[in-house]
């Protein structure tokens, strides 16, 4: 029997067929090192990256595609933004729902005495306290980091309101869109986003090792890495123009070729249709699990807008053990534990035990959810 995959918040699977074939085609035909050489296979790789940048710009409504630097993943993009922007004495505000990809870089900069931070507390459903936020700004506050959707509960941050608040206090915003790129509308120009970090292997349906960072014109980040770009080779300093500024070393053209097809699939199927599909699935899953006795659910209520995640616990039961039984007896794959977001679990009251996280994706069906719920029903009988 095939696995039933409920771990799309970790990485999406399966990918559209075109993603697999495009990655292979890149290795066979567009294999030149982009920006280097100048022969036809390099030009093919250059064209591929150009097209991918344009596709990302189209998806997020970014006026200037050159302001998008490709990265290894969202963590890489977030590190580039945080370590490239923050300077001695800056104060940063972030929320309790943040992933370790934000908490750990900020933690290091704090430990080194470089910056100070304030954590915005979140409700038991994962929503940030907006009054607290408005009062948290100081004259030296230069950045607000917003987790667009929690990877533990799917809770959506009120992005527009938080951006307006940050700009009112003359701080930039960095959006962590790891859980929302490809499944929620993100309009960089309309929302007035300063920096947007995204990954390619989740909602964008691409291979791992892909992602990117958008940086608004006028923000000049110090690069995390410097080196070969294929341009201005005579200089001993790294080029300052975007995107080369943040793209030292050979890019993952193979992965990006796949990511491009993932984005094209999303645009073809329609972001609105994807959102509707996932929203219906989450509602159905949440309501079906809620009927089971002995199960505790976290995050937004069934009808509330959120990303496609349902987190659960069974009282006095190890979530890891439930995950093991789900796979070994039912072939259901999900994630259990702390999900790299310790403060979020503290806000939800699930620290240190963690949760069982189910994250359906765009290829998950209602029947798949029925099977999962039936499996959970049987497991609950065993543990009670």
């Amino acid at each position: 029997m095939n696995n039933l995959y409920f771990d799309n918040a970790a990485t999406s699977w399966p990918k559209p067929e075109s993603v697999y074939s495009s990655a292979e085609n890149q290795m066979r035909n567009a294999f030149g090192n982009p920006g280097r050489s100048g022969h036809t296979r390099t030009l093919e790789a250059d064209r591929l990256l150009y097209k991918t940048r344009e596709a990302v710009a189209g998806l997020f409504n970014i006026n200037d595609p050159a302001r998008i630097a490709f990265s290894l993943n969202a963590t890489d993009a977030l590190n580039t933004a945080l370590k490239g922007y923050l300077e001695e004495g800056y104060h940063v505000i972030h929320t309790a729902m943040d992933h370790n990809s934000v908490l750990r870089p900020l933690g290091r900069l704090c430990k080194e005495g470089k910056i100070t931070t304030t954590t915005i507390p979140c409700s038991t459903k994962g929503y940030p306290d907006l009054d607290f936020l408005d009062n948290a700004f100081k004259p030296e506050t230069r950045l607000l980091v917003i987790n667009h959707a929690s990877n533990v509960t799917g809770t959506l941050a009120p992005l527009k309101d938080m951006i307006i608040t940050a700009h009112k206090h003359n701080a930039f915003v960095l959006i962590d869109a790891a859980q929302t790129a490809g499944s929620m509308a993100i309009d960089v120009e309309d929302f007035d986003i300063d920096m947007l970090a995204f990954t390619g292997h989740k909602g964008l349906l691409g291979p791992t090792g892909t992602g990117g960072l958008y940086v608004k014109p006028g923000i000049n980040l110090k690069p995390l890495r410097e080196g070969g770009t294929g341009s201005q080779s005579e200089l001993d300093s790294h080029p300052e123009s975007m995107p080369e500024r943040l793209e030292a070393g050979t890019l993952n053209s193979t992965g990006l070729a796949g990511m491009l097809k993932g984005i094209e699939y999303i645009l073809d199927r329609g972001l609105g249709n994807i959102k509707e599909h996932e929203s219906n699935l989450r509602k159905y899953l949440y309501n079906s699990l809620a009927e089971l006795p002995g199960i505790n659910l976290y995050g937004p209520a069934a009808g509330d807008e959120s990303s496609c995640i349902v987190s659960a616990t069974i009282s006095n039961t190890d979530s890891g053990e439930i995950g093991y039984i789900l796979e070994s007896s039912y072939n259901v794959l999900c994630r259990t534990g702390l999900h790299c977001a310790p403060l979020a679990h503290k806000a939800l009251g699930t620290f240190p035990e963690g949760t069982i996280r189910f994250s359906p994706g765009i290829f998950t069906s209602k029947e798949d959810v029925d099977y999962l719920v039936k499996s959970m029903k049987e497991i609950l009988k065993l543990v009670q």
Binding site: G35, G38, L43, D46, L49, A66, S231, P239, E244
Partner: protein
């Protein structure tokens, strides 16, 4: 004396964007490695007949393509040619 003209770009992004906006336009050009006798930030240049340079420049300017420079090189086979930088009206 025969000459060939080159347009150079500050980044690969603009070189490929130039190619993309010229697609289906009635002008002949080729994307080529930048000749070593020209100093350029980006390794890919646009090569064209010198009598097409003006028309191509207008299309590129209309599409906000950032250009680093225009050059005219003497066609002398594989030997290093003499280079003349051109300054076109924008």
């Amino acid at each position: 004396m025969a000459y060939t003209c080159y347009i150079t770009f500050p980044t690969t992004f603009f070189a490929i964007r130039a190619e993309s906006v010229l697609k289906n336009k009635p002008c002949s050009y080729k994307m080529v490695p930048v000749p070593r006798s020209i100093s350029s930030s980006c390794g890919t240049a646009l090569r064209c007949e010198c009598n097409e340079l003006g028309a191509i420049n207008i299309i590129l300017q209309n599409n906000k393509i950032e250009i680093e420079g225009f050059y005219r090189l003497e066609e002398i086979g594989l030997k290093t040619p003499s280079v003349e930088e051109l300054f076109l009206d924008e």
